[in-house]
């Protein structure tokens, strides 16, 4: 639906290089990368605020690269939101509608519908000076979506918001997406990318280094950068079930139960645990680690320090083991081993 093809842009020493990706209708597409990677510039090029040196942007196969900013059907919410300070909440939301010639009762009822959708009806008459970050974010979203853009571009939408309010904004964004709105969301936050994205493109130094579903990208990092940025190979999608023991929750993925601590009682999400929290034994170890599984070694890779050992326990788990241990236990592929993971080492990231 949206295609970005071979976009390049040079800014002094910074260079956006051969950016190509494709977003399907209804996707929640994350652009993930460290600050200064060029993510915001990509958004501004799609919106037409910056002209690329080379390459093109296409929506539904129509080339919009040279199209006027206002005619692209692309809505951009800036990181600082860019709420017009001299206009009230109502006038901010009405701004794009007036340009389309809407007025009188039509305009009023459309603004009211939007305000209701974003739960800001009570703020409609206020001026924008004293609103909270979360309220301003909703005003900005209502204003941008008033024109029903084909693609919604969000630049770090959660960064200006209190931690407590992030969950509710995340579920708002998710529900906007579920109603069919295609979204491209820029973030430097790995958790954010996982919990919202249906597709992730990892951006570094002006290039896209990997694209795919969150599971693809984080489980099979295509480069050292992605591996370091995501950092974690034990990464699984699944569900937290209702059963619990004390504070422990049971996460089920591919029929395997992993016990962990989490605030969420149930729901879909991802778990991750570092390779160095996984230990390997030849017999059932009966240690304090709660998660103990029997499996078969499927791969061994030499690392800078020790070995990375992949064990199939129904899911493929990676363990980092010293050279001495590999020697002592005689670890090799197809050997049967026991794997244990401490519940404390397992982290749960809910899908918003």
């Amino acid at each position: 639906m949206l295609r970005v093809e071979n976009i390049s842009k040079r800014y002094g020493s910074f260079e956006l290089n051969d950016i190509t990706f494709q977003v399907e209708k209804g996707d929640y597409f994350m652009l993930l990368g460290p600050s200064g990677a060029g993510k915001s510039i990509i958004l501004e090029i799609i919106a037409g605020l910056i002209k690329p040196d080379n390459g093109g942007v296409f929506i539904d196969d129509v080339d919009i690269t040279r199209l006027a900013i206002g005619n692209r059907s692309v809505g951009l919410v800036f990181q600082d939101l860019a709420i017009f300070p001299h206009l009230s909440v109502y006038e901010n939301i009405a701004f794009p509608l007036k340009r389309k010639g809407m007025k009188g009762q039509n305009l009023k009822s459309r603004v009211n519908v939007l305000a209701e959708e974003f739960s800001i009806t009570h703020l409609i008459k206020r001026n924008t000076q004293n609103l909270s970050g979360g309220e301003l974010q909703r005003v900005a979203l209502a204003r941008t979506l008033a024109l029903e853009p084909k693609v919604l571009l969000l630049d770090e939408p959660l960064s200006s918001i209190d931690v407590q309010l992030r969950a509710s904004l995340k579920s708002l964004l998710r529900s906007i997406n579920r109603e069919g709105q295609t979204i491209i969301h820029v973030t430097h936050d790995y958790d954010e990318a996982i919990s919202l994205g249906s597709q992730v493109a990892v951006v570094n130094s002006g290039r896209i280094v990997q694209t795919g579903t969150p599971v693809d990208v984080f489980r099979n990092p295509a480069s050292e950068f992605v591996a370091n940025f995501s950092g974690i190979k034990n990464f699984f999608k699944g569900t937290i079930s209702d059963s619990s023991e004390h504070d422990l929750r049971c996460f089920i993925t591919n029929g395997i139960s992993i016990w962990l601590y989490a605030d969420d009682n149930s729901g879909d999400g991802y778990v991750s645990f570092p390779e160095n929290s996984v230990s390997i034994a030849l017999e059932n170890p009966h240690t304090s680690a709660i998660n103990t599984f029997q499996g078969v070694i499927v791969d061994i890779f030499q690392q800078k320090h020790g070995f990375e050992i992949w064990v199939d326990i129904g899911i493929r788990v990676a363990a980092l083991v010293t050279w001495e241990s590999v020697e002592k236990l005689g670890l090799k592929t197809e050997k049967k081993v026991w794997v244990s993971v401490k519940a404390n080492a397992v982290r749960f990231i809910p899908i918003a």
Partner: protein, 273 residues
Amino acid sequence: MTSKLSNSIKGNSQNFSWFRLIATLLGAILLLFIISPILGMVLATPLESIVSTAADKEVKESIWLTIWVAMAATLVFAILSIPLAYILARHNFPLKRLVLGIIDLPVVIPHSAAGIALLGFMARDSVLGKTSSLLGFSFVGTPAGIALAMAFVSVPFLINYAREGFASVPERLEKAALNLGASPARVFFTISLPLAWKSIVSGLIMMFARGMSEFGAVIIVAYNPMITPVLIFERFGSFGLKYARPVSVIFIAVCLAVFILVRLIARKENKDA
């Protein structure tokens, strides 16, 4: 707010400083220097002479002329200046520094010299003079000429205030408005202009006040019809200090009144917006 206030009170009482004392004294001398000549003039002018001068037809006409010509000059040149100020605030182009220097030129050259230059520019044998005489009017010795002289020396104030106003509007807001479908003209009128309005109004007031008080350039372009600063000069030259004083006092009072009125209107507008 309260903590800030108590801090500054504490700061005052705790850190006695010779520097601050001397700075205050120097400032007081300066204020006296501004106030005392004006106050002295007001006190030295008998009330009955003020009253009779205020009734003088020539004085009344000159004050009225000064006000409306200065106002007309300000409004006409605002149409030329405000878009230029916007371009200067938003765009970089070759020789921009030169353009900025040209805009400040009227402030640094002697106003009598500016008047001489303008006189040549609008004289009957110049392009402007020929064009205007074809249209049946003349600049030399007319309110139109006075307006040009006033505008020439006062327009830098408007351009610079407006330019600073536009520069203080975050470019993000204009980009957001473009993204929301507004045309560049609509962005200018609905976003940039309202947000820079406070500075623009200050610039308009400064230009108006500066135009009203202009003497040097105007007297060369048009001795008659007489604006009040020229009238004051003429009364001083023909009759002496005693006769120049009442007109001066009245004109200063009028200037102050107009100035305060315009500021009040501007402030009210700001509150309404």
